[in-house]
């Protein structure tokens, strides 16, 4: 016997213990595809909502380099507003989503928004004479300030803005990295901040710090991957350009140095012409790859597109000595995509298949209506197949087993398939040939003849 449970659904009206409700709200929001700003808003909302921790106002400072900058201040602007808001929010039926929406409204309201007041506040975290609130962040200490006006460590400008005697600073950090600080107060209810409030606020702080840290790492990782891809691109393009340039330069110098050597003149010029063509190929492939910009997929008949590719001269030349079998189902529905990109994708795969197949081998292009909503195009060859290590990297940019070419072809095909809502699969073993399956969405509902 197995009982299945849903993950806790966040609910501000929950009869669960306050702490559990709070944890639930925050951890749920981290699962959502919200932006970091939205998730931080959820944390601030949890800290200021009645069924959360219940502070009146919450202020968020975030680090940027070694600076701590005022960013968001959530809460009513006056005691009157507080009363109205709390009445509205305590109406039965008001839940999590409504409160978040309400708070978002508070933040986006330009004039008179609390956040506008703290945005000019910027503190250095590396300076020697730290003041509150920066001190809490820099030292990673929770600070409960009881008599702010008599406390020399509180920054006067900050004190003027917050205007209360008692407030709590919760540092946000993870793995030695300071992410910010949250400042909480009870400006309207004048309730004393109790140890239990401090405990709950610290829990929120730990979660927020970890969340911000993970998000920062994630963004850094994406950035590094981009830079790495760019670096690889630069290396490969350089390589692809340098060989032709070496030859163009060398054969030109020969002509310049021995202008009377008639035998070399035509030969050298022919080589130079050919190498210039190679430079153009590199540019073509690069631009072509960068340009996958598909409009909305449209229904089209794939048969004429496949025929057009098979009839093109470059494919015809490559097919010499290889048996090319075409097997397209009679009653094939239209598929969703872009006919031009479809043709280019098929050409790419056919080119690869023909290049991998020895003389006397066979390449098959087959299409079937399968799985109700999918039309599958199979391109199979009896060529040399791939080792697992090659298969693994197949769709990586700038990966190629050919001496010529940028290694962008299959990535292009993959991008085409993704942009029309389809997918690509590959089966291959060394010595066994390769099979590519392209799944296109059928433009008609499930097949009628079952």
């Amino acid at each position: 016997m197995i009982d299945r449970y849903q993950f806790l659904v966040p609910d501000f009206q929950s009869k669960e213990p306050k702490e559990l409700a709070l944890l639930s709200i925050i951890s749920q929001s981290f699962f959502q595809p919200f932006s970091i700003e939205d998730n931080l808003l959820v944390i601030l909302t949890a800290l200021t909502s009645g069924s959360g921790v219940g502070f009146n106002r919450a202020m968020l400072f975030r680090t940027s380099g070694d600076k701590l900058k005022g960013e968001v201040w959530l809460g009513p602007r006056s005691a009157e507003e507080a009363k109205t808001i709390w009445e509205v929010l305590s109406t039965p039926g008001i839940g999590y989503v409504e409160i978040i929406e309400h708070n978002r409204g508070l933040l986006t309201r330009e004039a008179g928004s609390l956040s506008q007041i703290i945005k000019p506040l910027v503190y250095s975290l590396s300076q020697e004479n730290l003041t509150i609130p920066a001190m809490s962040a820099a030292r990673k200490e929770m600070l409960l300030v009881r008599n702010s006006r008599q406390e020399a460590f509180v920054d006067p400008k900050f004190l003027e803005i917050i205007g209360v005697d008692e407030f709590l600073c919760v540092p946000l950090f993870a793995q030695d990295e300071i992410m910010g600080v949250i400042i909480l107060d009870n400006a309207y209810t004048r309730q004393t901040i109790e140890p239990k409030d401090v405990k709950l606020a610290s829990l929120c702080g730990l979660m927020a710090g970890n969340y911000m840290y993970t998000t920062m790492l994630h963004n850094k990782m994406i950035e590094m991957e981009r830079l790495a891809a760019l670096g690889e691109m630069a290396i490969f393009i350089t390589h692809q350009l340098r060989n032709p340039l070496t030859m163009i330069g060398g054969f030109t110098d020969q002509l310049l140095n021995s202008p009377n050597d008639k035998s070399k003149k035509r030969r050298n010029l022919e080589i130079i012409r050919k190498e210039i063509g190679r430079l153009e190929d590199v540019l073509y492939e690069l631009v072509h790859f960068l340009k996958v910009d598909m409009k909305k997929p449209v229904p089209f008949d794939l048969r004429p597109e496949i025929q057009a590719v098979l009839q093109s001269s470059d494919i015809k030349i490559k097919s010499e000595g290889i048996e090319v079998l075409v097997d397209i189902e009679e009653r094939l529905p239209k598929i969703l995509g872009d006919p031009t990109y479809f043709g280019e994708a098929i050409r790419n795969l056919l080119n690869n298949a023909l290049e991998a197949t020895p003389q006397g081998g066979r390449v098959t292009v087959q299409s079937r209506w399968e799985d109700q909503n999918w039309v599958v195009v199979r391109i199979q060859d009896t060529g040399k197949g791939m080792l697992p290590a090659v298969k693994e990297k197949l769709f990586s940019p700038f990966f190629s087993t050919k001496d010529k070419g940028l290694g962008l072809g299959l990535l292009f095909v993959k991008r085409v398939m993704e942009s029309c809502g389809g997918k690509i699969e590959v089966d291959s073993e060394a010595g066994q040939g390769t099979l590519f399956r392209l799944y296109f969405k059928s433009a008609e509902e499930g097949r009628s003849d079952g």
């Binding site: 350089t238 390589h239 340098r242 070496t246 330069g249 030109t252 020969q254």
Partner: protein
């Protein structure tokens, strides 16, 4: 006459190097891959090897390692389109690393230097 072996898979580049270096007074032999190079090296003696490296991780580098193991006493120039692997190779594999260029001057002067001419 000093004998030079060139390992280069671009046919036209082999032709260019052969003509240019022959004119400089060298006896030049060209092969298109490292396997052929190994075969030739087992038969004949050379005073210098000029070789390309292909992409790291592919057969080229492995076979070049074998060439190097076979003839440690012969000076080797790596001549390649890849600029960024210089450090990787200079430490263990080659006496000079010349990036392919539209001018053959650097390659020619490195050859002279390594052959003490």
């Amino acid at each position: 006459m000093k004998k030079i072996l060139i390992v280069e898979d671009e046919e036209a580049l082999c032709l260019l190097y052969k003509e240019e270096l022959s004119q400089e007074g060298y006896d030049v032999m060209t092969v298109y891959d490292a396997e052929q190079a190994l075969e030739v090296l087992n038969r004949e003696r050379f005073d210098l090897i000029i070789t390309d490296i292909r992409m790291p991780g592919r057969d080229g580098v492995e076979l070049i390692t074998q060439i190097l193991g076979l003839r440690k006493d012969i000076p080797i120039i790596i001549n390649t389109a890849y600029q960024s692997y210089k450090e990787d190779f200079m430490t263990w594999a080659a006496d000079a690393y010349v990036v392919k260029s539209s001018s053959l001057q650097e390659l020619k002067s490195k050859i002279k230097e390594l052959l003490n001419q």
